[in-house]
């Protein structure tokens, strides 16, 4: 596949006896915003580290930005940008000092650096003084500067590991506008997140569980695939105990059941029993047919398997 920015076949990463990534295969198109979802410890960060040249895979093949994984870390590192889930700027240095240090690390020519810096800061609409210390910036701005730092060398593929953890909703949506802009400029964005509204904005998402990819598609198709049944939202008319609902969870015509605060999401099989159950429920709840959210998809695929 010529237009794959990232391609991986049977990639595995083992730490001693523990298999963090278990023979995964996927491909990411150029210019795609590719989301990676999964519980903590599912292997998202480990996969990203391999693709950034920070970890050597135990088995499998792959290429990133046209460079084979076994071609050496240096070649991969030169082609990709990486923003780790930890904070990646020096708090005690200014914006300019951070960026120029990273330019030095990446051996950018000073003139090239100055041009890149100005255009990237314009891109993130950074309006503060360049000599502001990073620690004096608000969280959202810091995150944007970190993004700027990770694309300073104009990489083809950018890996963002939970880039918006711990910033305000407004800053998150601003950050995602930048991500979409970058994709429009032709960059491939590989992003992990725990926020479902962010996952909705990805072109495609992969769901990871215990080192494996359990589902991979566009958000819309994922919902359709994971929920062939009709999903209903039940709203209790009178107070309900969770204990009373256990029968419903194990009911043969219930494909999916999950409490959402005072409400419940229930997927009913398209059977006679399912139709009967729906009518019966309608007597106790306000029942409304809904389309599944990514959160339902996530719960059913990533967490639901253990039931």
């Amino acid at each position: 596949m010529k237009d794959s920015a990232v391609e991986v076949q049977n990639l595995s990463v083992r730490f001693g006896d523990f298999t963090a990534v278990d023979s995964i295969s996927f491909a990411v198109r150029r210019g795609e915003v590719f989301g990676f979802l999964g519980a903590n410890g599912a292997g998202k960060t480990t996969t990203i580290r391999v693709l950034c040249g920070l970890l050597r895979p135990s088995a499998g093949y792959g290429s990133v930005a046209g460079v084979a994984l076994d071609a050496g870390e240096m070649a991969i590192k030169a082609r990709v940008g990486y923003m780790s889930q930890k904070f990646t700027l020096y708090d005690d240095l200014t914006v300019e000092e951070n960026l120029s240090f990273i330019a030095g690390l990446r051996k950018l020519d000073p003139a090239v650096y100055a041009k890149r810096r100005d255009s990237i800061l314009a891109f993130i609409t950074f309006q503060r003084p360049l000599n502001a210390l990073i620690r004096d910036l608000p969280g959202g701005i810091k995150q944007q500067v970190a993004l700027a730092a990770s694309i300073l060398h104009d990489p083809e593929v950018v890996f963002l590991d939970e880039p918006t953890a711990g910033v305000t909703p407004a800053a998150r949506s601003r950050f995602w506008a930048l991500i979409r802009d970058l994709a429009r400029q032709g960059k491939t964005i590989f992003v992990t997140t725990h926020y479902m509204d962010e996952a909705e904005q990805c072109d495609r998402i992969a769901l990871m569980r215990a080192g494996q990819i359990v589902a991979l598609d566009t958000p819309a198709r994922l919902k359709a695939e994971v929920f062939p049944e009709q999903l209903f939202e039940l709203e209790a008319v009178s107070p309900v105990h969770y204990g009373d609902m256990d029968g419903l969870r194990d009911h043969p015509d219930v494909a999916f059941f999950e409490p959402y605060g005072m409400r419940f999401h229930v997927a009913l099989r398209k059977t006679v029993g399912g139709e009967n159950l729906r009518r019966e429920l309608a007597s106790r709840f306000r029942v409304q047919a809904i389309s599944p959210t990514l959160e339902d998809v996530f719960i059913r695929t990533v967490e639901g398997e253990r039931r």
Partner: protein, 366 residues
């Protein structure tokens, strides 16, 4: 080269931006040396002196009285039958005069006698001073009262220094303190600088760039090497101008020796930082190395008195060699072959340590 330059700029800015760090680097060593130096001052007063009270022993009485009059000494409490050893051991007296059997006067009348002085020399310098004071006072008493001129003194002086038999001088201590301060700042700071990056997460950013292990290690060590070297003249100035420690050798030779030494300490710090995963571990590691290294270096306890295994350990301790160099260069003027030998040993150690760091350092994560 560009990467290295970027590293150096960044490290210096980070190290020097924080005013606390500036103080730690440049002011603290000078203050510490001053404090250590003052604590080691030879001007001693109020030493508690005890002498066997014997009304018949006129001479001992005179020596004792003149000692107390001199204000260097105070009368120590303790009754007639007190055991002088016990008094010194318990700290009731810092020093005790013990006359020969039958008393000092009678011994002198016979024409010979030993006056024994017991000194608690937990503090080496105090013990030396006490010995000198008592000796001078006794001599003065004999000259004035018995009208006997040296060298026909009828009494000999026997000093028993308790608890620390080898006496060292202040000039001997100050180079030791210099060596200690220099190693503390360089080892701890170097060790912390890389582990701080690991802890905060910037390390991952750093190695996500196509940098080589050499670039990272040199970039992280050279700044601390330079800062360590800048400390040398500061600390040396306090030693020479503040305490009058002689500087008999050449400054250039001393600087070469110091650079060799700082190379080893920075290398130790780097090695520690490749092992430790956070700053606490790194500080712990630093002190875990420093305490035995200081104790074995001959700074406090003479190496000659150590049992063989400890002696061997002290030879692989870089502090031992630098201390020997400092003392040799400052006090003796620096003997060519001696200096060359120890500088070469230090450089050899630095090379081995840096190689070990390279082996341990990875630009990938485990």
């Amino acid at each position: 080269m560009r990467t290295l330059r970027a590293f150096l700029r960044k490290e210096f800015k980070q190290a020097l931006r924080d005013p606390r760090m500036r103080i730690l680097l440049f002011i603290t060593p000078m203050i510490q040396l001053t404090l250590f130096g003052l604590a080691l001052s030879t001007d001693i007063k109020n030493v508690d002196l005890w002498a066997q009270p014997d009304s018949n022993d006129y001479l001992l009485r005179r020596i004792y009285d003149r000692s107390v009059e001199s204000q260097w000494f105070r009368s120590a409490s303790g009754d007639h039958n007190a055991d002088p050893f016990e008094l010194v051991r318990s700290g009731k007296a810092d020093a005790a005069l013990v006359s020969p059997p039958g008393g000092l006067s009678r011994a002198v009348a016979r024409g010979a006698g030993d006056l024994q002085l017991l000194v608690n020399s937990m503090n080496v310098l105090e013990a030396q001073a006490v010995e000198q004071y008592v000796r001078n006072i006794s001599n003065a008493v004999i000259e004035d009262d018995l009208h006997i001129k040296r060298p026909e003194f009828p009494i000999s002086f026997e000093v028993r220094v308790l608890y620390n038999p080898t006496l060292e001088t202040a000039f001997f201590m100050v180079p030791g303190v210099m060596c200690m301060l220099l190693s503390i700042t360089t080892i701890i700071l170097t060790g912390m600088s890389l582990t701080r990056e690991k802890e905060v997460g910037t390390f991952e950013m750093l190695i996500s760039a196509p940098v080589s292990a050499t670039e990272v290690i040199l970039g992280k060590t050279i700044p601390y090497l330079v800062l360590g070297i800048v400390q040398i003249p500061l600390v040396l100035a306090v030693a020479v101008f503040g305490f009058g420690v002689p500087m008999r050798g050449s400054f250039a030779v001393l600087l070469v020796a110091s650079v060799a030494f700082v190379c080893t300490t920075v290398a130790i710090g780097t090695l520690i930082s490749t092992i430790a995963s956070n700053q606490q571990q790194s500080t712990m590691g630093g002190f875990l190395f420093l305490f035995p290294a200081i104790l074995l270096s001959g700074l406090m306890f003479p190496i000659e008195n150590m049992p063989a295994p400890m002696m061997w350990a002290s030879y692989v301790d870089p502090l031992t060699h630098y201390l020997a160099l400092l003392r040799n260069i400052m006090l003796k003027g620096g003997e060519g072959s001696f200096v060359v030998k120890h500088v070469l040993i230090l450089i050899g150690m630095a090379v081995l340590l840096i190689l070990a760091s390279f082996r341990r350092f990875r630009t990938t994560l485990q």
